[in-house]
């Protein structure tokens, strides 16, 4: 399981890690009970500060995606849907839509992009569910 961190991404590194882990959970790539590598390992492999990784793990813990157990590291939590306010949920979508409009995309192109991304997400998700079932 791999997270890709982009060179030209405007988000801070810890946020890229948080978003990447969430995306993998959404695609069923990371399932309940799976352990994330230690903060030291991630920091060492990427060549970043320990605190940056610790902040990302703390945010994931605060949002209920992982449970940090002493000695066992960060473990993916149960998949109970996390209640989030509708407005809060739509905020990143609005930002992404704004970016696409500013990039000169038409409504039809935006709709196609959204459908394609959603279909890709569902496809990866069912593929990972099948893999999990086979295991």
């Amino acid at each position: 399981m791999f997270l890709a961190l982009q060179a030209n991404d405007k988000r801070p590194v810890y946020q890229q890690i948080v978003d990447g882990v969430k995306a993998l959970i959404a695609r069923n790539g990371l399932r309940e009970g799976m352990t994330l590598p230690s903060v030291r390992q991630v920091a060492g492999d990427l060549g970043i500060n320990l605190n940056t990784v610790a902040v990302a793990y703390r945010q994931l813990q605060d949002e209920g995606f992982v449970t940090v157990r002493h000695g066992a590291g960060a473990v993916i939590s149960s998949r109970t849907p996390h209640p989030i306010d509708e407005a809060e949920l739509c905020q990143p979508l609005r930002t992404a839509l704004t970016e696409m409009i500013l990039a000169g995309k038409t409504n039809q192109e935006i709709e196609e992009t959204v459908h394609r991304e959603l279909a890709l997400l569902q496809q990866t998700r069912s593929c990972n569910t099948e893999k999990g079932g086979a295991l």
Binding site: M1, F2, L3, A4, L5, Q6, A7, V13, I17, G20, V21, L24, L30, T35, L36, P37, S38, R40, Q41, V42, G44, D45, L46, G47, I48, G73
Partner: protein, 317 residues
């Protein structure tokens, strides 16, 4: 049955080492700059057509340095034999590593400085696979290893016989490789986002190979260390048999170590072909030169420094 003479023992050791060195030189070291294909020189990305232009000079220089190193070591060995200083043969074996490794590291650093000043920046991938020490290091084997070292020293100290402490001390120091193995498990170079899975598998295979090679080296040092207490407790009349047993075990462990090393080198060539070598590119977070784990470098400097110090002391005392 008579025991082999010092000359015969050293001749065997020298033959083993020389054969291994020649094999490594011909099979691996000579072709090392091109290990990652024509797009790289010693793991550093070079422009297309490099080997038709300045690359020829770089390659010739590399081969000249290799030949000079080996000739210097052959001359040192010749002097040992000419003056019948068999006691210096183990020093020569250790000396080769102490000259060869820093020379190769210096050559790599120089090449990186001259050719890889501005490597490309690529997106980086992060593996979410946990690396636990227990997956790479066998703790029961480590406990057995430590127990044999302690038992060897216990026997030597309990016998109360005046012995030269330096050689067993050298072997014990050289066998202390657990911190190096821990550092290897913890160290990881950044993975490029393209073909991340292949790069990760390659990196992990290299990590396991290095640990296997260190294990084999540790066993060789342990076997040599065990020779000292065994000589004290072995019945004097049967000492020749001990020498033969020791030589057989030593040769077997040495052969195993070389097989592990060569297998690792061959695997590195096969798996690493067409992959980006660590340090040939920069991540958005760190430079290309910082691809080695600091803990490993510190341990290696202390460990190799200790071996060098003990060797120099034995030479000058």
């Amino acid at each position: 049955m008579t025991a082999p003479t010092d000359f015969e023992v050293m001749l065997l050791v020298t033959a083993l080492v020389v054969l291994s060195l020649l094999y490594s030189l011909v099979k691996f070291a000579w072709k090392q700059p091109l290990r990652n294909g024509p797009g790289f020189f010693l793991g550093i990305e070079v422009p297309a057509g490099f080997y038709d232009g300045p690359g020829k000079r770089w390659l010739t220089g590399y081969h000249a340095i290799l030949v000079a190193l080996h000739l210097a070591l052959a001359a040192a060995l010749g002097l040992c034999f000419a003056f019948k200083r068999w006691d210096l043969i183990p020093l020569w074996c250790g000396g080769f590593a102490l000259v060869y490794v820093p020379a190769v590291v210096a050559l790599n650093l120089w090449t990186r400085h001259k050719l890889g000043a501005r490597p490309p920046v690529r997106a980086v991938a992060l593996s979410l696979e946990s690396r636990r020490l227990g997956d790479y290091i066998s703790w029961p084997a480590e406990a057995l290893f430590a127990a044999i070292i302690v038992a060897s020293w216990w026997v030597m100290l309990r016998r109360g016989v005046a012995i030269d402490w330096l050689p067993p001390l050298q072997m014990t120091w050289a066998a202390l490789i657990l911190p190096g193995k821990i550092a290897l498990v913890r160290s990881g170079a950044p993975l490029p986002a393209e073909r991340a899975e292949e790069h990760y598998r390659y990196q992990d295979a290299m990590r396991r190979n290095s640990i296997h090679a260190l294990n084999a080296w540790g066993c060789l040092m342990l076997v040599t260390l065990c020779g000292f207490p065994l000589r004290l407790i072995w019945p004097p009349a049967a000492l020749p048999s001990l020498v033969w047993i020791f030589l057989a075990v030593f040769t077997a462990v040495f052969a195993w170590m070389m097989i592990v090393i060569y297998r690792g080198m061959r695997l590195a060539v096969t798996m690493g072909r067409d992959l980006l070598p660590a340090g040939s590119w920069m991540t958005p977070f760190r430079g290309a030169t910082r691809h080695m784990n600091g803990f490993y470098l510190i341990w290696f400097a202390i460990w190799i420094g200790g071996i060098l110090g003990l060797n120099l002391y034995s030479l000058l005392r």
